[in-house]
């Protein structure tokens, strides 16, 4: 113990620049944000201390709950559907295509499905905004030409179709991420185990269980990172719908942004962002604990 302490002396100096910058750029703003959330402040006049009034307002505000509900729906589009589809596709490409055809064919499909992931979400929004445009967009044009004119919509402008459209775009955007991670994880699956399962007459479902049990660490990483990403969704909403029509596609981060920069209700915006921070941090802790527990059980 003593030896380690001695040999670790003198290293602290290397941490100093990082620490100072961290305090200025992250720690101080974060704490300031907590402080602001306890005030009524328009960003100009001196802030007024109001205790937990903003938090009370958050939990009784129908707009916040609408935003939160949309956020949960985003988890379906960003985490649940892409993870399931990614898993099926990964197994299929790895186990079927790469053997029936070859690994090059499988890699080609993987690259194709992954392509949307290389875009910034904002640019993905610009692309889809063009396709879904009610005036000149390609989707309505195609629907009209194939005789489905009755199905044309102002996709992002109507309350019924706006959120499903954004969700569809997110599924398109996200599939590649779990697919690539799962395909590389599958290399760990012992073909002999599957061979044995096959001799047992094990069916597709049983084999899927074997695969899942091997790549469960990757699945949990994907679920954690994409759930957090879903809870942080902002750019897509800003680009595609600005939370509208009405509050049909509003999400908490965009609602916080509106309160900060459009409505000059800074204290309230800070409270919203604090609530989201707590949810995200709690999720992270739960997932990490689960992962540690799984490692112990093994």
């Amino acid at each position: 113990m003593k030896k380690i302490e001695k040999s670790s002396q003198g290293y602290f100096v290397f941490l100093i620049p990082g620490l100072i910058l961290f305090l200025i750029v992250i720690a101080f703003p974060f704490i300031a944000n907590l402080g602001i959330s306890l005030t009524k402040w328009n960003g100009v006049k001196p802030p007024q201390f109001v205790g937990f009034a903003n938090y009370h307002k958050v939990f009784t505000d129908a707009v916040f709950w609408a935003a939160f509900r949309n956020n949960l729906l985003m988890i379906i589009a960003v985490t649940i559907i892409p993870t399931i589809l990614g898993l099926i596709l990964a197994v299929f490409l790895f186990d079927y295509v790469s053997t029936r055809f070859n690994m090059k064919v499988a890699s080609f499909f993987r690259a194709g499905y992954y392509l949307p992931q290389i875009l910034p979400v904002a640019i993905a929004g610009v692309v889809w905004g063009w396709i879904l445009n009610p005036g000149y967009g390609a989707l309505n044009w195609i629907l009209t030409r194939v005789g489905l004119g009755a199905f044309t919509h102002n996709w992002l402008g109507e309350a019924e179709t706006a959120l499903p459209s954004v969700m569809g775009i997110m599924i398109w955007f996200q599939i590649g991420y779990p697919l690539v991670i799962f395909m590389s994880a599958l290399q760990r699956v012992d073909p002999q185990i599957l061979e044995a399962a096959s001799l047992d007459g094990a069916r597709w479902r049983h084999r899927m269980q074997i695969v899942i049990s091997v790549i469960i660490p990757e699945i949990s990483v994907v679920v954690l990172t994409t759930t957090i990403a879903a809870l942080k969704i902002f750019a897509q909403i800003y680009v595609l719908t600005r939370g509208g029509p009405g509050h049909a596609t509003i999400v908490p981060s965009y609602f916080a942004y509106q309160n900060f920069f459009e409505k000059a209700r800074v204290g309230y915006g800070s409270a919203i962002s604090t609530v989201m921070t707590i949810i995200i941090l709690a999720l992270t802790v739960v997932f990490i604990k689960l992962q540690l527990k799984m490692q112990e059980d093994e």
Partner: protein, 278 residues
């Protein structure tokens, strides 16, 4: 071995499903690309699905000039490259102290860096906006560079410290016996040996910074400082853009990313499949 799915699916049906899905995934790229090279009258006459009868660069050139796209590319590039260099350097310094120096309170620092990495940016946004305004750095590239250097290095510190905890101690001991100082060991042993990991970090920092949206949106308000994603989204619906010009704007947003992907492909796949990244 094909043990999992072999017996249950006919190859023809499987291929059709895969190809159909691929078409859906690539369709947006395709349709953006072909319509960017049309003229508005041709689009009106023949619709979005056919290839352009003559390749016209008019829409792209006109959009490029209207938004002064060269400037936007340059802004994005300056910000992303600066952040990538500085954040990789800062990660190296931090990780040297934490992963190799194993200084007191190391695990607490690491947890703090992990937490910092998961914080939603809106929980920092207003104070950052306020501070930057107060010290006269509002609407400057340097403010965005500083902020993202710190945010990205929080992740880099965590990753690199983990890598460094397995660093061959014998090498360090040998250098110490030879009388090398800590700075010298960092420069001549730790840095050269960790270049592969540092290049993965560099690549990810560059691309993540290029893709950032929330904080650049609030910190870079003036036209001359905006990055590519901000400029393209802000101009949506402005400038009386016609259909092919709107398509050109989307294409100009997509192209740099495809170029980066081609350049960085190897590093990226290595990083993504490591699973720990992002």
């Amino acid at each position: 071995m094909g043990t999992l799915t072999r017996k249950y699916i006919s190859p023809a049906i499987a291929m059709i499903v895969l190809i159909l899905l691929l078409v859906i995934m690539l369709f947006p790229f395709f349709i953006i690309a072909i319509n960017a090279f049309k003229t508005a009258p041709e689009y009106a006459a023949r619709g979005p699905l056919v290839l352009p009868s003559t390749i016209s660069f008019d829409s792209i050139i006109e959009f490029w000039e209207r938004v002064k796209f060269s400037g936007k590319l340059l802004n994005s590039f300056i910000i992303s490259i600066s952040v990538a260099v500085l954040a990789t350097g800062l990660s190296l310094l931090n990780a040297y102290a934490l992963g190799i120096g194993k200084i007191k309170g190391m695990s607490v620092f690491l947890i703090i860096f992990v937490v910092a990495n998961t914080l939603p940016h809106e929980s920092l946004a207003y104070p950052l906006y306020y501070i930057v305004k107060a010290i006269g750095l509002y609407d400057t590239k340097i403010s965005v560079i500083i902020v993202f250097t710190v945010i990205q290095s929080a992740f880099g510190t965590y990753l690199l410290s983990n890598v460094f905890s397995a660093f061959p101690r014998a090498l360090l001991e040998a250098a110490k016996i030879d009388g090398a100082g800590k700075g010298q060991i960092l420069r001549s042993i730790v840095f050269p040996m960790s270049i592969p990991t540092l290049s993965v970090l560099f690549t990810f920092f560059f691309i993540w910074t290029w893709n950032e949206f929330f904080l650049p949106l609030i910190m870079l308000v003036s036209n001359k400082n905006q990055t590519v994603p901000i400029a393209l989204t802000v101009t949506q619906g402005q400038h009386n853009m016609d259909v092919t010009m709107a398509s050109a704007s989307a294409l100009l947003g997509v192209l740099p990313c495809i170029i980066f992907f081609i350049i960085f492909q190897r590093t990226l796949t290595k990083g993504i499949t490591a699973g720990s990244i992002k």
